[in-house]
């Protein structure tokens, strides 16, 4: 009896020992495996390290993911085509990024980490104006060049930062094509401006409002809503009862959808709708379906736009980087979707940085800054030229419209594929 129980105890002890041993072995193997299979340390000579945060979760996750894929695509293209040439040597581009969860409170800690611990040599700004505003001061504090690709608010370039450069048209120019089109084709339409309260949307909409007044259009309603708004019916009701024919404004992806859905709920079909940001996303059409048809938006870029070496030559400037088709092909390696303008502007930021490094022929911040200030070139994204504050002045904005499930460039006429269909709901 005693022996039996001893035996039992011994078996139990042995079992435990085996289990413990297995756990230890698994742990050791996985740790060793982790270190062995880890990508080689990015500190290999002959690379240039670019750091940024991007929104892969949270409010800006749709735009952020498109941007990230754009960066991945262009980086691969650059490295496949000889990399960056400095003093005759070829350098590859590598990048370090973190998910900022669309929260501005994450920006400072993550960028500080990129700069002080990951040792990045150049920075890309995060997606969206508020996050870019939070990141921008660090560029000057640590004296590192930062290229903005998704922060369009004009205020970013009014702080006197030396090291922050934009590749995209600033917010104040976003809705200009829409106003231009209306003033030519439907000057009798009464306008309602309804837009999100973040700095980008406010700047874009206010600039458009002033421009509309300059063009002698009638504005009957003007109101902002909080970015977290979940019910816009009171504003839409008010705009409707003010007699508006056209709605201009919006903000980002979520509230753009909200406006269209709630317009339907209150049974109002304005004649013309032009919104910021949201409209260009394929998800805008897929989630709204027929309601999205004939909604206009503004875009920094579409793959159907024709920027090419020939066009560049006609303007007397240099063309740099892949053709639009090349970029789209590379983009498809990283995503099943078509590239959006967020993809293109993020990619353009890397491309412009590379060009500036090559022109400066150095990684030195001052030299690259000088190059960025003096460059005037065309890429697949369009023209690049900044003024002395670093704000973009040469790139042009497009107006686009959903027409039977496909996104068409409809304005300005020189780049348009087709004409605007008017009114909405027809």
């Amino acid at each position: 009896m005693i022996k039996h129980s001893l035996n039992k105890k011994a078996i139990a002890a042995r079992t435990i020992a085996i289990i413990v041993a297995v756990i230890i072995v698994i742990a050791v193997v996985s740790i060793v495996g982790y270190y062995l299979t880890r990508p080689p340390s990015p500190q290999v000579a002959g690379t240039i390290k670019i750091g940024f945060t991007i929104s892969l979760t949270g409010t800006f996750s749709v735009e952020g993911t498109s941007s990230l894929n754009g960066i991945k695509a262009i980086t691969k293209w650059i490295n496949d085509n000889g990399g960056v040439i400095i003093q005759g040597k070829h350098y590859n581009i590598t990048f370090v990024y973190y998910d900022d969860q669309s929260q501005s409170s994450n920006i400072v800690p993550l960028y500080t980490r990129l700069i002080t611990q990951d040792g990045v040599e150049f920075l890309l700004a995060p997606y969206s104006s508020p996050l870019t505003s939070a990141a921008a001061p660090l560029a000057d504090q640590y004296n590192i060049i930062m290229i903005s690709h998704g922060g369009a608010a004009d205020s970013i370039w009014k702080q006197g930062y030396k090291n922050v450069f934009g590749v995209l048209t600033p917010a104040s120019g976003y809705l200009k094509p829409a106003i231009d089109w209306l003033s030519v084709n439907h000057p009798e339409d009464k306008l309602a401006f309804i837009y999100a309260g973040d700095s980008f949307s406010v700047t874009a909409s206010k600039a458009a409002l002033n421009y509309a007044l300059q063009k002698h259009l009638t504005v009957v309603y003007n109101q902002t809503y909080p970015t977290s708004a979940t019910d816009l019916t009171p504003l839409l009701q008010a705009a409707k009862s003010a007699g508006a024919d056209a709605i201009i404004g919006g903000g980002h992806f979520n509230d753009g959808q909200l406006i269209i859905k709630q317009l339907d709920q209150i049974g109002w079909k304005p004649k013309f709708i032009c919104l910021l940001v949201a409209v260009t996303e394929p998800a805008f059409y897929s989630s709204l379906g027929n309601l999205a048809n004939l909604v206009c938006g503004s875009s920094q870029w579409e793959s159907s736009v024709k920027y090419s070496p020939a066009v560049a030559q006609s303007l007397g400037i240099e063309y740099f980087g892949p053709s639009i088709q090349d970029f789209v092909n590379y983009y498809k390696m990283f995503s099943t979707n078509e590239p959006t303008y967020h993809s293109a502007e993020a990619a353009a930021a890397v491309l412009i940085l590379v060009k500036a490094i090559e022109v400066a022929n150095s990684l030195n911040t001052t030299a690259v800054r000088q190059a960025l200030l003096s460059l005037h070139i065309m890429t697949f994204f369009g023209e690049y030229k900044v003024d002395s504050t670093g704000i973009q002045i040469a790139h042009s904005m497009l107006m686009i419209q959903w027409q039977n499930g496909s996104l068409k460039v409809v304005y300005p006429p020189s780049f348009a594929e087709t004409n605007v269909i008017y009114p909405y709901g027809s």
Partner: protein, 294 residues
Amino acid sequence: MVDTLLLFSDIVYGLLLGCIFSVMALGLNLIWGVIKIVNIAHGEFIMLGAYSAYFLNLFFNINPIISALLNTIFGLGLGLIFYFALIHKELRNKETITLQDEMVTLVATFGLSLFLSTLALLLFSGNSVGINWSIGSIYVGFLYIPLGALYVAITSLFIIYFVHIFLTKTYLGNAIRAYSQDIIATQLIGANPTKIAAIATSIGIALTMLSGSLLTVWIPVGINPYMGSLYAPISFVIVVMGGKGKMWGSLVGGLIMGVIIDTAQIFIPPTLAYAIAFLILIPILLISKEGILK
């Protein structure tokens, strides 16, 4: 003239919205009024209800009103877990709840709110989603009323009435009301206080999740992990306004809140409308902690 029409239509929308606010506050009120515990994670249960409605719609194409009923079942289960995991320890064998007990549960439910909203963020990502339930509108005189919102408002009123009948006409309802007055009295009428507290809590959570489902009709793309931080404070203000433990107070408070939020936006920027809706709590508390509705 246009302005009166606008005001009138916003009042109508406000009342429709207010019906959902009422159900939303009802769950909080039941827990607060009966077991004297304020559930800081209230907003997160609304969020869970909304996500549950979203997924039920996505996978089984169930509309928000039907999913509200299913949510009630989930809510009863979650409510029991909630009670026994977080609340029971503080209430067990106690005849009265001291301020210290109240603070412990306040902090514990606050931890839960942080936990649930972050878990939702990691599981569902932070991107807002919504339910596409377009069943059109009806045109009444001069104003379109979305049918979805109308059905939801009617459902809400029916639920509030049902809860009222439950609390006043059934044995269990009477036991719950007895518990809210005096825990010892519950024992005198032969009921087990723990059972009563657990049932009341789980009904409260069920109502909360149900309201999350109904809310999705109003927020076509507003379902996200953070939504609780907007709707919880609104619910707190409603319960304080109507008086805790007064179920019909939630109805009146909810309707007032809906009308304030929607009509104030005619006169002031929407952001200030929300500021007013929140700050109204302070004068109410200065007047009376039992609410301003007699």
